[in-house]
Amino acid sequence: MADASYPEELLYHAEHDWARLDGDVATLGITWYAQDALGELVFFDPPEVGTTVTKDEPYAEVESVKAVSDVIAPLSGEIVEVNAGLADNPETINEDAYGEGWLVKVRMSDPSERDGLLSQAEYVATLG
């Protein structure tokens, strides 16, 4: 994605993650800003289904040619699905960060945590 984009319907975490809520399941990914800063991604090391993630804690790693970066969980819960397609095509995260480039789906353990996330406008404001 050449141009910055931050969909309005998503919730954001200041560590450059997004969440799309559907009932008690949240789909998580990294933002356009994060994938742009990292450059072309060459490896995604996903957590295992059934493990738990904790809000504000790292739950996975993404790597570009030059660098490795933790992915921070915007919400707490249990991993119910990981995006298996990224194993062979991690560049999908660059190409479609909010669509095919999603990372994991989480069953939220504390839906009230959503209140601590940022709106699109609030997140964009953190980018300066």
């Binding site: 450059g39 790597e63 040619v65």
Partner: protein, 356 residues
């Protein structure tokens, strides 16, 4: 370190080309333009141009220049014919590697040695300190040259089209007039591809850069320079070479001719005879993941370079490992941030034209 970061004569060109600029060895350098994978591919399949003006140059001139360089450089300098080029190491008395260098013979008593940017000041002081007994003048030429590397299967024809005469061949260096500019054309590079390195006056560099881009060369940044060199197992000083390691364990015994009596020759001879405790090996990750510099090798040793290979599509790298574990095919376990990941020692180079 200098308070202000240095800029090459091509800095504005990099910004205009959309480069991401990073600090590197005291310079502001382009790490990538359009993207690492595409830049890497351009060099493997066509032609790319790198700004390597951050590299330093030292000129040694005089009747004693050859004897001086024979004393400080590890290789046999007497074998460099006029117009020739040679790779060598600068070693301490104990064999520790101060730098790795290319030296070009510009004339009967005139040599130009290219230094790594991070080592240039250190090298210059070392060379001056060791030149006292020789009839030789050492001059810092770093400010007088910009340097472009043009690399890839189409590199020579791209540069040839600008040249007044046929280009010098591999491992030779001769002056040519390119697009009305005086250029030292060197048949060397750091990518495993055919190509040339061009030393020019700084003022001439921007026009030369523009001309190369106009003829189809892709601008290539430091990130792809690293993936390209690592695929062919060229050493990067500061990663794979350092003062605490000697040439033999680094696999650079071929660039050391102890009989010339260079500074460090006795230590290198002893290391060659005894065999090193550890050796620098190339490896491939066998079940995914990417090892990074500093990752420990289980059972002893450490990764010094590691990346995702754009040509091979797997994690690759180099590591110092116990000599007993250095044979190709030996399985390794690498501790990648707390997770053990399997790798295998691989013959060098990791990539060659015949590999895919």
């Amino acid at each position: 370190m200098p308070a202000a970061r240095l800029r090459t004569p091509l800095f504005e060109r990099h910004v205009a080309a959309g480069a991401r600029i990073v600090p590197f060895a005291g310079w502001e350098m382009p790490v990538q333009y359009a993207g690492v994978a595409g830049e890497h591919r351009a060099v493997r399949e066509a032609v790319g141009v790198f700004d390597v003006s951050h590299m330093g140059q030292v000129e040694s001139t005089g009747p004693g220049a050859r004897a001086f360089l024979q004393r400080v450089l590890s290789n046999d300098v007497s074998r460099i014919a006029p117009g020739g080029a040679q790779y060598s190491l600068l070693c301490r008395e104990d064999g520790g590697v101060l730098d790795d260098l290319f030296t070009y013979r510009l004339g009967p008593e005139r040599y130009l040695t290219v230094t790594n940017a991070a080592n240039h000041v250190k090298d210059l002081a070392w060379l001056q300190q060791h030149s006292a007994d020789f009839d030789c003048t050492i001059a810092d030429r770093a400010q007088e040259y910009a340097m472009l590397a043009v690399q890839g299967p189409l590199a020579r024809e791209t540069v040839q089209a600008l040249s007044d005469r046929p280009l010098p061949g591999k491992f030779t260096a001769e002056p040519r007039t390119l697009a009305a500019c005086d250029v030292l054309v060197c048949g060397t590079g750091y990518t495993g591809e055919d190509g040339v390195e061009l030393l020019t006056r700084p003022d001439d560099a921007p026009a030369g850069w523009d001309e190369l881009l106009r003829r189809g060369a892709a601008p290539v940044g430091l990130a792809a320079r690293d993936t390209l060199r690592l695929e062919v197992c060229y050493h990067l000083y500061g990663n794979d070479l350092m003062e605490s390691r000697g040439p033999i364990e680094a696999g650079l015994g071929w660039a050391c001719k102890e009989e010339t009596g260079f500074v460090g020759a006795e230590a290198v001879r002893a290391a060659r005879e005894a065999g090193p405790a550890e050796k620098l090996v190339a490896f491939v990750m066998t079940q995914g993941g990417i090892a990074r510099p500093g990752n420990p090798v289980v059972g002893g040793g450490e990764v010094t370079s590691g990346t995702m290979s754009p040509s091979l599509g797997v994690g690759i790298g180099m590591a110092y490992v116990p000599a007993a574990d250095s044979a190709p095919g030996t399985p390794l376990q690498i501790d990648v941030r707390g997770k053990q990941r399997p790798a295998e020692v691989h013959p060098k180079p990791l990539y060659s034209k015949e590999t895919p």
